[in-house]
Symmetry: C2
Subunit: 285 residues, 2 copies
Amino acid sequence: MARTIAHLGPTGTNAETAALIYKQILGESAQLRPYNSINQSVRSVAGGETDLAVIPVENSTEGSVVMTLDSLWQYDRLQIQLELVLPITHSLLSRGRGLEEVKSVYSHPQALAQCQQWLENNLPDAAIIPTNSTTEAIVLVKDNPGAAAIAAPRAAKLYNFPILVELINDYADNCTRFWVVGLKPITEGRRVSLAFSVPANVPGALVKPLEVFARRGLNLSRIESRPTKRSLGEYVFFMDIESLENQPHLTRSALEELSAYTEVVKVLGHYEVREVDRATVKRIS
Amino acid sequence: MARTIAHLGPTGTNAETAALIYKQILGESAQLRPYNSINQSVRSVAGGETDLAVIPVENSTEGSVVMTLDSLWQYDRLQIQLELVLPITHSLLSRGRGLEEVKSVYSHPQALAQCQQWLENNLPDAAIIPTNSTTEAIVLVKDNPGAAAIAAPRAAKLYNFPILVELINDYADNCTRFWVVGLKPITEGRRVSLAFSVPANVPGALVKPLEVFARRGLNLSRIESRPTKRSLGEYVFFMDIESLENQPHLTRSALEELSAYTEVVKVLGHYEVREVDRATVKRIS
């Protein structure tokens, strides 16, 4: 039976592009399933409704996608199978004939934030309207030549919508990390991601867990904190660790030692990272 | 001359409530100035257009307000004068006669996220529409009995709009930290907040700065990372440190030692924290 891959929909989102690239990597007739939110796509895997979900984790300009982190902490047994790093470009889509006609700009808050400087420099007086997805923005501006949407070039093609200005993201190297999550445990791969909580209000409570990795020469490539939501000042920490080649025992022993300094630890997966080039993204489009 | 206090507008936002409470604390005829974004209100202080800005920093349910952190890193010389912790309650505002009539819910993404569970349980089929502020949501649903806005009880009163359901935030202890920032350097207060960058891709690069505080028994009450935006994997770290009573020299020496392990350090302020009770918030309303 063909495997199912959940992603944030509707068609035309960057999450769908990442899911299509993963489908190519699988080389089988997998089926894509769009969901209304990241949380719903993660829950569909946890509940056995779909086999895999492709979810955005972090963007180079805007940082963590907090709904993804909160969802991974909320549901158990999920394991990262692979990371895909995609170059992300944004275009300004409009039926208007020039920038001077654009009075309002619609898009997902992440996309708006990734083009913030461009908008301030080129459309300082336009109203900025957040939407649930970049493709929802296209639907909303469809019949309004005084409005524009920020979306991927692929979405412009899919919805047959004209591009007014190409490449409006503030940073040329703008890219997003996507995780493929499923229930299959993976124990190989150079990257290890985990989440843990520490005892509240203990001086140095976070130093001990960090030392566990530093002492072994394991690089911490990222740390992120999220509130437990119960009370101000209580956090869950998310970490990415780089394993050392041919020394997987160091990572294993660090993870064992970690439990001495933490309350709850979840190892989210050992996995490989694959950088996707612009040409591959373009072929999908 | 009366001092000016910038805040996220328009009238009715929680930032305005915090600014009004700070005005009471000042006990003078300060003048409030609403801005369209947090970044604009911070820039107004950095550029000398206003004297102070009151900005949301962190919510107990939704975590950091990333635009505030990015703005404080972007502009120099800003110093935190005081922290106010406000209890935040959300209500569902609508002209409809019951929940069964509500087909769509409008609000600021932070407010929507703080009521996410309630919405899933009580309005699972409603369309969720993000807006630039809770008060913008009220304006948008004004003439539509099939729509509802999530906003503070104070906003309902200000805009003379009926409350359909009170207290819909998922966590009863929901609260938000606000910083009052200005250009006056403050060097006393139990809390110290700072931001710094570390050399990229050095194993343990973050451990050294943390040890500087842990070794002195100084508690790190919060750590947050934000991307430098240049390249995936490069971060600026934001930390809150609790000083020890009668031992300010420990904090001073830690800050001096810190520069040995960091690239750029910005001390955002030494300041006091004031918890505001529900009764005070209600009086402002």
